[in-house]
Amino acid sequence: MDSIIILFITGLIGLFAGMSKKPVASLLIASFGLIGAGFAAYYRGSYTSPFSSYAAFVPTQGIVIILLCAVTLLAVLGGFKRYKNDDEHTGDYFGLILFSLCGAILMAQPNDLMLFFIGLEILSIPIYVLVGIDKGSSTSAEAAVKYFFTGSFASAIILFGIALLYGATGSFQLIEIQSNLAIGIWQSPMAMIGSLFLLAGFTFKIGAVPFHFWGPDVYDGASNAVLMYMSTVVKIAGVYALVNVFGQVFRDSYFFWIDLVSLLIVISMFYGYITAWKQTSFRRLIAYSSIANAGLMLFALADIHNSNLFLFVAAYALATIALVVCNQAINDDSDHLANWEGIAWKHPLIGIALVLALFSLAGIPPLAGFFGKFSLLWSAVPHVPYTAILALIASVIGAFVYLRLLLLALKKPSVSIRIQLSAEQMLVLALTSVASIGAIYFI
């Protein structure tokens, strides 16, 4: 609870500090808030919801909150450069991000469908705004429109699922729903269809096939700064919600939905990676790669008892942020991949971070990406071996995509003009690089 409160307050302060046209101030406040929230989660991790007298359905993992806060911190640090200059939006940026982070934390581990739904909306609505934050650009407007309509449509679907579930079990308390389903109600059509609708909603949130369509367009239209937050935190929160709500509540109907999930995994991975191959815009490429990674994340459902998700999402988030920061360093709005030619040589930090990030995404040891993939598959393989085989084949195609990007970035440029990185960007790149190697100690 404390972390949410801290975030909310610092968000407000940041919002108002923005009006004082002192970007650094609001950055400091925001980072302070995020760090504070992280520490709060570390010391007082588990909390009971004010909205219900029930004990938490899934014991709150402070580590998840810390991860969310840390990723957000990296995102705002990386994105700060973009808002340093147009200071009329600085406050909005930090404020909105912190608010939606509150939603993310709520949504990630609720004990109540109501709470979950509210968290979901608190997460989404600020992002609708953030996507369209620069009023001038038409692509940004289009992205906002698309994201808003698809998003609210998905909310409606989730809501429908919740309603059906309530109809089947007569409660919103996850713990009650679970116990009611356990005594056989899960076989009632209402419960089953409700669970499927919920699954559809989650699939939308993490952006897996067939509810992925918003991804590429929205990522493309949004600014790098927003992209950093959207492509990481939303997915992390969504997938944890998926595991903690869906996976736990419907654990009795595991054999009912697991095949569908496997199908989603395979389709998402192949579709995402293959489509990413032909992309010419970096942000779209990241979008498709994130679709594929969303497919991988669904492996967390394969083993409902221990879903070793943490390393994977962490590695994915860090690598994505590193890449987007590098893309931001190019500082070109056309966002064409051709600009990537030889950027690894323009700054040593960019070079190192890029190599590590891309190899990490490709899943080459000893980088974080490998350990993430390994621990995810470690628990998944015994349950869905064939899906795992297909997933690995798909990730070879993925390696194609990332390596092509790497080769592009490593091409020796004729004239190497050095890019100037701002201090916080350097910090982000350094942190991500260190983290992607330091993951060795989790294994």
Partner: protein, 642 residues
């Protein structure tokens, strides 16, 4: 001095020579290099004589273990018995003579020290081959001499116009030998499988104790051994490398391709006699292969015009003769001919070398003639060699050939008839060679004639020694019908000193047959001599130009087109196959196949991209579609469950 120490010294000396010449030979003066190389071999020869004099029974000298596994132990160990010591004598004795000769012959060559390095290495490997007490050491030396022969054949690789040809000749020799080596390798494996050892004596003992091992296995083993022999000893079908090997310097031809290495096949067969005795089938094969070889090679030699080529084909033919003897199981006879052949063939080659040296690298007998006056010593010795090989009575060749003929007549008159033909041809081409080279008019032009000179002492001395040997070599194994006491000394020596040979008994003809045989042989030889004298010396007939040849002459000059046949049968198809696999299968099919697969997968991206139409309504539609899929999945599941 203890025998084993002597033996090790014999083997070590050439190695030392090789090492010193190889490392510092470049810096040393030529005489020192040659002297060292010759000295070590000659010293080895002297030591070998001591072994020979003190020889009784068989002795094994174990040096160290090459491989020592629980199932299988292979030692670097050596064997002293009549056979190995005799071969050692031939190798070191003739070897030292040829080293001596080379000192003069190679004196103008820039690769002088390299040449002697290789020669010593060859002597070393050859000694390993004959002295080893098991097939592995033998194989060791077997491969070693192959390598040295390659090095020495392609010795003049830097020669401007013939350099590549020389090296190609070397390569041909190496590859053909390798084909034979495969046979030896397989034989070794089969022996290991049968006896779990490679020691000659142990295998022999094992065969004595259990007689179950006859037939099938033995036939395979001996056949593989014989394939190896055909490779080294240039028998059909692997004989074509030997004539090409004449690209090497003449002393090499004398040492490797006449006296020693090419007889390794015969040595191998004699050494494995206890195996061959159990496989009569293989012995027949050997007989007929040897017979065909001796006949065809003799025929090919009839119209060769390169002095060394003639000798090369005669070598092949003589080797065939030895295999005929082996085919009859007359091992000592074959080895006797090996010995005498080593004498006179080395003599002939060195003589031709002396001629070539005097003629300034001219090898075509059509440009020679009348050399008798220009280089008398060479002429005299060469004549002796010719008479010896053609079987003029009471020279070494006469006796050794006669033994073989006797065996043939005793076992199989048809074979005898063919041999008579071959022997006649031998006499014909040898005397043709002699007369065209040394008698008649000089055809090389005055300019050359003025330069022709007799060779120095270092070259003529070996000639004289070998001439003496070729004359009296026959005394080693006089036929029984005269000199009862000393008769068949060589047979006794070998058959009592070598494992397995005591069991083998050569056929002995009764007095009248043997007498008639000898008279007939002498008649042939002398008749041919007279005919040749009349044709070439008196009528002054000369070798025709290549285009003037007709019918059988053409056939003989073109070596029965064997090289061409092999090219079309084996070489070209192999190259074509290589091209096909390399270009079509490997690149087109496999590599591009992989690429095509990858492209095929990745190009589906062009389709999948289309899914992202950019129209919100289509997105919403697909989301609803997804929901419908989910529901459909639900219905499907239900229908599966119930």
């Amino acid at each position: 001095m203890a025998k084993d120490l002597t033996l090790l010294l014999i083997i070590a000396l050439p190695l030392i020579g090789f090492a010193i010449n190889g490392l510092v030979g470049k810096k040393m003066p030529k005489t020192l290099v040659g002297g060292l190389a010759t000295g070590v071999v000659f010293a080895a020869f002297l030591l070998a004589t001591t072994l020979f004099s003190g020889l009784h029974g068989t002795q094994i000298v174990n040096l160290f273990n090459i491989i020592d596994f629980e199932q299988l132990r292979i030692n670097a160990s050596f064997q002293i018995d009549a056979l190995s010591v005799w071969m050692t004598l031939i190798i070191t004795g003739i070897g030292s003579l040829i080293h001596l000769f080379s000192m003069g012959y190679m004196s103008h060559d820039e690769g002088y020290y390299k040449f002697f390095t290789y020669l010593n290495l060859f002597i070393f490997s050859m000694l390993l081959l004959v002295l080893g007490s098991n097939y592995f050491v033998l194989f060791f030396g077997w491969e070693g001499v192959g390598m040295c022969s390659y090095l020495l054949i392609s010795f003049h690789y830097n020669d401007a116009e013939k350099g590549l040809a020389n090296s190609l000749a070397g390569r041909k020799a190496f590859i053909m030998n390798r084909i034979g080596d495969v046979g030896l390798l397989l034989a070794l494996f089969m022996l290991l499988g049968q006896f779990n050892t490679l020691e000659f004596l142990q295998i022999g003992k094992a065969l004595e104790t259990n007689t179950a091992l006859q037939g099938g296995a033995m036939i395979f083993i001996t056949l593989s051994l014989f394939i190896a022999a055909t490779g080294k000893s240039a028998q059909i079908p692997l004989f074509t490398w030997l004539p090409d090997a004449m690209a090497g310097p003449t002393p090499v031809s004398a040492l490797i391709h006449a006296a020693t290495m090419v007889t390794a096949g015969i040595y191998l067969t004699v050494r494995s006699n206890f195996l061959f005795e159990l496989a009569p089938f293989t012995k027949d094969i050997i007989l007929y292969v040897g017979l065909a070889t001796t006949l065809f090679a003799a025929f090919m030699a009839l119209r060769q015009n390169d002095i060394k080529k003639v000798l090369a084909y005669s070598t092949v033919s003589q080797l065939g003769l030895m295999f005929v003897a082996l085919g009859f199981g007359a091992y000592t006879v074959a080895l006797f001919h090996v010995t005498t052949h080593a004498f006179f063939k080395a003599l002939l080659f060195l003589g031709s070398g002396s001629v070539i040296h005097g003629m300034h690298e001219e090898q075509d007998i059509r440009k020679m003639g009348g050399l008798a006056k220009l280089m008398p010593l060479t002429h005299f010795t060469f004549l002796i060699g010719t008479m010896a090989i053609s079987g003029i009575p009471f020279l070494s060749g006469f006796f050794s050939k006669d033994e073989i003929m006797a065996q043939a007549l005793h076992h199989n008159p048809v074979v005898y008839g063919v041999l008579v033909l071959a022997v006649t041809m031998t006499a014909i081409y040898m005397f043709r060679l002699y007369f065209l080279t040394f008698q008649g008019q000089f055809r090389g032009g005055e300019a050359l004639k003025s330069k022709v000179h007799e060779s120095g002492l270092s070259m003529t001395l070996p000639l004289m020694v070998l001439a003496v040997l070729s004359i009296f070599g026959g005394l080693l194994n006089l036929p029984g019908l005269f000199f009862k006491g000393t008769a068949h000394w060589f047979d006794h020596y070998l058959s009592h000193g070598t494992f397995g040979l005591s069991a083998v008994h050569n056929a002995h003809l009764d007095f009248s047959t043997a007498m008639g045989l000898m008279l007939f042989a002498s008649a042939i030889a002398i008749g041919v001599f007279i005919w040749a004298y009349l044709t070439y010396a008196k009528k002054g007939a000369t070798a025709k130009a290549d285009d003037a040849l007709t019918g059988w002459e053409q056939l003989s000059a073109q070596k029965l087109y064997v090289d061409e046949i092999y090219n079309t049968l084996f070489v070209k198809p192999l190259l074509a196959l290589s091209d096909f696999i390399g270009k079509v299968v490997d690149i087109q099919l496999l590599r591009n196949g992989v690429y095509a697969l990858a492209d095929g997968i990745l190009n589906t991206a062009n389709l999948t991209r289309k899914w992202q139409t950019g129209f919100l309504s289509s997105y919403l539609f697909w989301m609803v579609f997804g929901l419908i899929i989910f529901v459909a999945y639900y219905i499907l599941k239900l229908s599966v469950w119930h």
